[in-house]
Every structure is written in structure tokens, then in C-alpha cells.
């Protein structure tokens, strides 16, 4: 009896916190299919008729569509580059001996510890000089640089687990160093590559402050910037409808991604800290 009561008590707490998380999202969704006039007059009521006009205006007029495409381009290219480049560096740092290895490892570690804001002002000047402000290429270059340290250190752990004998065996069979990397090493660290890609996806897809300082052209803005734009405009126009629709459209990709990779994300987020 006590046990059941205890269970119920615990469930109530969980449900309350879940409600805190879910209800606002559901309510944003309910409001997003209302005509704008109804949102102001009856914010807590259900819509009298379902109207997807807000979605159209958010997607095309407010530029969320452009932001979505830009984000998709920047994120996918960055992730492919980050994962492969980091794998190459991690492989070399884990399996090869050469001069200055310790120093180089240390400098990557430093990149992990120095926070982004410390570089904000000079980074802007640098990108301005290189004419890479307001360009998706510039944004990709910056994202790649700022994700390298983190990803390299994840992947070094994976490469360290691969026994050296496998590489030696491949060399005896006549594999060159590049084929060793491509055909022997990469398939063995695949779980690591996937985790690295997932974590970098979350970080880059949501990244705001670097994009904010480096991109000001509307046609180059990423999804978070466009959504923030809608929020700013809303303060003057009180066009809540577009904001709600924009919020829903922005939540959908994250949620789908989350549902697919939930287990890896949740387990992976503790792997580095607790076990390492």
C-alpha cells in the first residue's frame, strides 16, 4: 500500500514538471493555427477554425524558409568537415609518434578550455579583414575551428581503444597509411564518429551568438537568427501568429532529430564526464 502511494506521489511530481515543459509547447501550437485577431482576443481558447495562414507568412514572408535552408547547408557541411578532419587529427595524435606531439595536443586542449566570448571581438575583425563576414563559407570555417578541439578529444578516446596490432597487420598485408586510416580505422571508430556528429549537430544547429556577430544579411541568416528576428519584429507589430508558427516550425526538426537519436544523446552526454 505504502509503495503504491509512494509511486503515485512520485508520478505527480514528474507529471507536474512535464506539464511545465509540454503545455507551453502545445499551447503555442494551438495558437499557431488561430487567425491573428483571435490570438489577441482569446489567448487561452481553442481556435474556432484551423488556419495555416500563419505558417505561410512565417515560412516565406518572415524568411524562416531561407533560414531553414541556410541552417541545413551550414550545419551539414560543418558536421561532415568536423567529423572527418577531427578523425584525421585524432588518428595521427593517437597512433603516430612525431616531434611536438605533446605541444600540439596541449594547444588543442587549450582550445577546449578557452570560452568563445573571449575571441568574439578579434574574430569579428579577422573575418572582416578576410572578407568572410556575411558569408556562409565564413560561418562554416568558424564552426569547424571551434568544434575541432572537442571532437578530437572524443575521437582520440575511440582510436586509443583500437589495438595497434590491427594497424600492424594491415601494414604487413600491404596497406599504405591512407588505406589503413580509411579501410581499417574509420570503420572501427564508427560509433565515435556518429556520436561526434550528433553532438555537433545539436551545437551548430542551435548556435546563436557567433552567427549573430558574423551574419547581418537577411538572405544569409540561419534559422535561430531568423526566429530571433521574428521575435524582435513581433515586439513592434504584435504579429503573434507568425511567431507561434515560427516557433512550431523550429521545434519540429529538433524534435524529430531528438526522437531518432534520443538514446545516444542521453547516454553520450555523460560518457565524457563520468567515465573519463
Amino acid at each position: 500500500m505504502m509503495k503504491i502511494l509512494n509511486q503515485i506521489r512520485q508520478h505527480i511530481f514528474l507529471v507536474i514538471v512535464s506539464i511545465l515543459v509540454i503545455i507551453p509547447v502545445i499551447w503555442v501550437f494551438v495558437n499557431s493555427v488561430k487567425p491573428s485577431s483571435e490570438i489577441l482576443l482569446a489567448p487561452l481558447s481553442f481556435p474556432s477554425k484551423i488556419d495555416f495562414g500563419n505558417y505561410v507568412s512565417a515560412w516565406s514572408d518572415a524568411g524562416l524558409g531561407v533560414g531553414f535552408v541556410n541552417s541545413l547547408i551550414v550545419t551539414s557541411i560543418s558536421i561532415i568537415l568536423i567529423v572527418f578532419l577531427s578523425a584525421m587529427v585524432a588518428f595521427v595524435l593517437s597512433k603516430k609518434q612525431f616531434r611536438f606531439k605533446k605541444t600540439i595536443q596541449l594547444s588543442f586542449l587549450l582550445g577546449l578550455m578557452l570560452p568563445t566570448f573571449l575571441a568574439m571581438a578579434p574574430l569579428f575583425l579577422l573575418m572582416n579583414k578576410l572578407d568572410l563576414v556575411n558569408s556562409l563559407v565564413g560561418l562554416v570555417l568558424v564552426y569547424v575551428a571551434y568544434s575541432l578541439s572537442f571532437t578530437i578529444f572524443i575521437l582520440i578516446a575511440f582510436f586509443n581503444q583500437v589495438p595497434d596490432s590491427l594497424e600492424e597487420a594491415a601494414v604487413i598485408d600491404g596497406c599504405g597509411p591512407f588505406r589503413v586510416f580509411w579501410n581499417v580505422m574509420l570503420p572501427l571508430v564508427k560509433p565515435g564518429l556518429i556520436s561526434a556528429a550528433i553532438f555537433n549537430f545539436v551545437g551548430i544547429w542551435n548556435e546563436y551568438i557567433l552567427a549573430l556577430i558574423l551574419i547581418s544579411d537577411d538572405s544569409m541568416k540561419t534559422l535561430p537568427l531568423q526566429l530571433a528576428n521574428i521575435m524582435m519584429i513581433q515586439q513592434y507589430h504584435t504579429d503573434w501568429g507568425a511567431l507561434y508558427a515560427g516557433l512550431v516550425l523550429s521545434i519540429i526538426p529538433v524534435t524529430i532529430f531528438f526522437l531518432i537519436f534520443q538514446r545516444r544523446l542521453i547516454e553520450g552526454s555523460t560518457a565524457g564526464s563520468i567515465k573519463g
Partner: protein
């Protein structure tokens, strides 16, 4: 270790051989051996140096200059550093950030721990709840700020104000009230981050051996006693880790103040990073922004060192 030594000797032998060979052959040998390092490594390292290491170095130079985006820049020595010590708004920004941490760190840790305890106790649908609480962690600050800003509208038809109305509480101003704004922003961060603290605590809880609880139960301890005498102290390494990451995170709060309050009302939500952004990118005083970023860096460094000293002792309990 032994293997390493052998490798060392081998390379030593090779070196001796190499010295006798002509330069060209030596170069070729070197290339054959290190090609993968040159091709894989050098370009990436150069990229890393340009976009990450160089800005960090350069930001120090920047603090001693009066840097202009257009026109001549001049050396001004410690002027910008002096300005910081006389800048009341900068001090206010630091105080606001400290206040934000006070509102934010303990509730985030507590909520994460409570959720982890419940989920770990084997309730039904634990996986489902875990997923829901973790969802805000992977959602961007911009989305959550948008929802939060709509919920906490300072007018009578804001969602939270309507709910408060059911309990007979007057409509509150929330983000437009200089006493409440920072707390509302802290609430946003708590809800966003406690999902990840929950996961850390959950991992910690699972590594506590079950025998300890069995022994305590035989000795007649109730569940509250077991929590305070077994669970809580054994989670010390997790407390330490979570405390550090939430503190570092709280000192870098920017997105929500920028989007929801713009530092106001009456500078009550001007945090350090927000002030840094405003100085650097609205007033285009990039040198002073660099000074502020160094101040923030030192603060975070000192806090992590202090935490490491006092909380980080004997992290290897089990």
C-alpha cells in the same frame, strides 16, 4: 611502455642511418614515414591556429589598442583597463551575473537531482519522462526564449498572469519589472538545463552499489536517512562536476537577455556577456569589449579554481 621504448630505439637507429644518406634520400624517407602527418595534420592545425588560437592571442593585443574598424588604430596602453575600474555599468553587469548565478545554480542542481532520484527509483514510463526533460536541452535558446517571453508577458492577458489570476494574484510585470526580470530569465535557464543535470545525476546514482542500501535497511535506516547519509555524499563527484558546468554556463548567459529584455529594464538584466556584446558590436568599441572578455575569463578561471580546491577534494570516494 616497453613498446614505446622499442619504438624509440628503432627511430634512433633509423636516425643514425639517415644521417649517412644524402639529403634527397633523407627527404624522401622522411616523407614516406610522415606523409600522413603532413597531409592530415598540418592544414587542419593551421586552420585551427588561424581561427581559434590567433583570435585569442589577438584579443590581448586589442586591449592595449584603440582599435577602429575603419581608419587608423593607435596604441593607448592601459587606458581601457583603467576604464573598466571606473565603469559603474560594468560593475553592475558583474553583480547582475552573480545574482543570476545565485538564482540559477542551486535550483538547477536540486531539480536535476530530484528528477534523477525519481527516475532511478524505477517508476513506470521513466524513459518517457527522461526524454521529455531532456528535450529542452537540445532545443535552442531562441525557441525557448520565444515561448518563455510569450508566457511571461507583463500584460493581463499573458498566460502566466491568467493562471495567477485564478489564484487571485494581481497581474505581474515580469520582464518589464526590474526586480523580477532576472528571476524570470533564471527560470528559463533552470528549465532548459535541469534535463542535463538530471542525466549526470542519474548516471551517478546508478554507480552507487546496491549493497550499501541493503546494509542500511538492515540497520533500520529510513529512506530520508539513507538519502542524506549514503546517496548525497556518494554523489560528491557529480555535485562537483555539475556545479562547475552550471557556474561556467551561468556566467556566459547572453541569448535570453539579448532576446527578451535587451539588458533592461533599468540595466537590471545587463549581464557581462550582454554588456560585452553591446560595447563591442553596438558601440563598436571592440577594444573595451576585449577587456571585458578578459575580466570575465579571469572570473570564471578563479571560480573554477576555488571550486576545484574546496569541492574537488577526494573525488574518488567509490
Amino acid at each position: 611502455m616497453q613498446n614505446n621504448q622499442e619504438l624509440h630505439e628503432q627511430s634512433h637507429n633509423q636516425k643514425q642511418q639517415k644521417q649517412k644518406l644524402p639529403f634527397k634520400t633523407r627527404l624522401k624517407k622522411n616523407w614516406e614515414k610522415y606523409a600522413i602527418i603532413y597531409i592530415f595534420f598540418v592544414p587542419i592545425f593551421i586552420h585551427f591556429l588561424i581561427f581559434q588560437v590567433f583570435p585569442f592571442m589577438f584579443s590581448l593585443v586589442l586591449t592595449f589598442m584603440d582599435w577602429k574598424v575603419i581608419g587608423e588604430s593607435e596604441f593607448v596602453g592601459l587606458e581601457h583597463w583603467k576604464r573598466f575600474f571606473e565603469d559603474d555599468l560594468a560593475h553592475r553587469a558583474i553583480w547582475n551575473t552573480v545574482l543570476f548565478s545565485i538564482y540559477y545554480i542551486i535550483p538547477t542542481m536540486a531539480l536535476g537531482l530530484i528528477l534523477a532520484l525519481i527516475i532511478n527509483s524505477g517508476v513506470r514510463f521513466a524513459g518517457f519522462f527522461k526524454g521529455i526533460f531532456f528535450l529542452p536541452v537540445v532545443t535552442s535558446f531562441v525557441i525557448i526564449a520565444g515561448i518563455w517571453g510569450w508566457m511571461f508577458q507583463g500584460t493581463a492577458d499573458g498566460m502566466v498572469n491568467i493562471i495567477l489570476g485564478f489564484f487571485g494574484i494581481e497581474p505581474q510585470l515580469f520582464l518589464s519589472d526590474s526586480d523580477q526580470a532576472l528571476m524570470v530569465l533564471a527560470g528559463l535557464s533552470i528549465l532548459k538545463v535541469s534535463g542535463s543535470t538530471m542525466i549526470y545525476y542519474y548516471a551517478g546514482l546508478q554507480s552507487i552499489p546496491n549493497q550499501l542500501y541493503e546494509a542500511a535497511r538492515i540497520d533500520g535506516a529510513n529512506s530520508l536517512k539513507m538519502f542524506w547519509n549514503i546517496t548525497f555524499p556518494l554523489l560528491k563527484p557529480i555535485h562537483f562536476y555539475v556545479a562547475i558546468i552550471t557556474t561556467i554556463g551561468s556566467f556566459q548567459i547572453f541569448d535570453s537577455t539579448f532576446l527578451l529584455t535587451g539588458g533592461g529594464p533599468n540595466y537590471s538584466t545587463t549581464t557581462i556577456v550582454y554588456y560585452l556584446y553591446e560595447q563591442g558590436f553596438t558601440s563598436l568599441n571592440l577594444s573595451y569589449a576585449a577587456v571585458l572578455s578578459y575580466i570575465l575569463f579571469f572570473i570564471i578561471l578563479v571560480i573554477s579554481l576555488i571550486q576545484r580546491k574546496y569541492l574537488g577534494k577526494d573525488t574518488q570516494i567509490y
